[in-house]
């Protein structure tokens, strides 16, 4: 093991000439870059100068209470429903991969149903469940009921939104987590098993950390998508960011500037999430060859 201590063998000889090479020229790429830059400049220029964008109106609403409280609601909805989605999704993915046909069947059914029914319908269902089941009761199935509640008392609008978004998201996250787990080399779990690690431990300590490289980017997608999807809860009169903007322009008819206002906020939040995704990816790429 003499690698680390200087072996002295090469010290006496004159050192090799350092490689300094002229990089390959890629004129095509430079052209592409210039084209993109010019297009971007034109876009920005027209964004700024086109009077129809009504930047003063954007400025006036950008930090307004209604927009900001919509933003807070959006963030809250997204955060809570993504947490539900990721946790439940991971559980479903593990169930789906289990060798037990009952568990994997239940997970399959869940995924099939919740991916299949439009979120809009699911939200309406949770929001207006009392139109279908005015009373919910706990009791013997098909038999007497012990407790009976009014559905509206249990499921508030916020609760309905979270239920709808979270349960729906779980079905999608389950597929993402499953793909991630499947991609990890089987030798890794065999090695863990051979060390006496239980299946749960193996999953938690060995497989999932490596699966994260395949899981994080699509999960970033889902989170960023959820930011915008959550605007479907407007059907429950829950004022998140886009709906807040819509309410404002449905009153003053300044549609374009208000949509721009909302879009800028979405872009800002997306940027933050993109940065977060970058660091998560870096964290989980430790030990990978690239």
């Amino acid at each position: 093991m003499s690698l680390q201590k200087d072996s002295g063998l090469t010290a006496a000889a004159p050192d090799g000439e350092v490689i300094k090479a002229v990089p390959v020229r890629h004129p095509g790429r430079w052209v592409a870059a210039v084209v993109v830059l010019v297009l971007a400049a034109m876009l920005v220029h027209s964004l700024i100068t086109n009077p129809r964008f009504e930047w003063p109106v954007v400025g006036q609403w950008f930090l307004s209470d209604r927009i900001l409280s919509g933003l807070v609601n959006t963030l809250e909805l997204t955060a809570i429903s993504m947490v539900i989605g990721i946790v439940l999704g991971a559980v479903l993915a593990i169930m789906r991969l289990s060798s037990n046909p009952i568990l994997s069947g239940i997970a399959w059914l869940y995924i099939w149903f919740f991916r299949g029914v439009p979120l809009f319908v699911q939200l309406l269902f949770w929001g207006f469940i009392s139109a279908l089941y005015p009373k919910l009761s706990i009791g013997v199935p098909f038999g007497p009921a012990f407790f009976t509640f009014s559905a509206n008392d249990i499921i508030t609008a916020f609760g309905a939104a979270i239920l709808g978004l979270g349960l729906n998201e779980a079905a999608y996250m389950a597929e993402i987590v499953r793909a991630g787990i499947q991609v990890v080399d089987h030798g890794q779990s065999e090695a863990a098993a051979a060390l006496g690690m239980s299946r749960t431990l193996t999953l938690r300590r060995i497989v999932l950390p490596q699966a994260m490289r395949a899981i994080v980017p699509p999960t970033g997608n889902q989170t960023i998508s959820m930011l915008k999807t959550s605007s479907l809860v407007s059907v429950l009169a829950f004022p998140e960011l886009l709906y807040a903007a819509q309410l404002i322009y449905s009153d003053n008819y300044k549609t374009i500037p208000l949509l721009i206002t909302a879009s800028i906020w979405y872009l800002i939040v997306t940027s933050v999430l993109t940065v977060g995704q970058f660091f998560l990816e870096r964290r989980f790429s430790a030990g990978s060859a690239r």
Binding site: G127, A237, S250, D251, T255
Partner: protein
Amino acid sequence: NPTQVGDAEPPGVLTPLTPDTAAIAQLPAAVVAKKELVVAMDVSSPPNHFSGPDGVSVIGLDPDIAKALGQALGVRVKIVGIGFDSIIPGLAAGKYDLAIAQMSPTVKREKVLDFVDYFSSGTALAVRKGNPLGMRLDTMCGHTIAVLKGSFQESTRVPEYSAACVKAGKKPIQPMVLPDQQATILAGIAGRADGVMQDSPVLEYAQKKSDGQVQVIAVAHTSSVGIGIPKTSGLLQPVRLAMQHLIDSPTYKQILTRWGVANGGVPSAAVNHNSD
């Protein structure tokens, strides 16, 4: 392929309107050249504007008004049924010339569009079948009332009632602002909202069609709605004249009667007659 007027005509005979030469004379050259007006409206709200049985055409009060205006102005009318969010950008884009979509003029909106009155309607309060909460117009304080986003009820009526409640030392009304007509009705039926406030023709129609699952219990106030006209289009004067021409003709009454809103007529085609 936007929804256009097809052959799906409801019963009732309309007398064709004679051209109004004074109005025609004021039409901008561009409109004269293409001999067509494109009129935008949404399609979610019977009897004002909704999808015909063929799924393609838009029928209702607003399309009829639009067609009659076309006759008065001597141009074809193309009716485009589109989501509300598209109407203003579409007008700005020059895709549409006019919006006839039950828009209530307000000071804010008049900064963006000009309005010519063509109809007026009352505000109705509807509740679940049997009115289990015993709602009345004067007992709405503290209750949740569903309204349609962008409606006159949202912007004006409910805030007025709510202010009165506060003044009387009661709890304010909780408005529940929903993005479409059906959601407000559903909120009423599901008991999410204790009452629904909407234009009276809309709720009366809903009561009929939903087998009384919603029940109109009061109608009050009336306010006018206007044809939305882009500020620089040059269409304000010709449309005003043509609308007045329509109001003065028997056709106007025929149209209103046909859609069951005979008491919604306006006396004159007032411009920017806001109710603020």
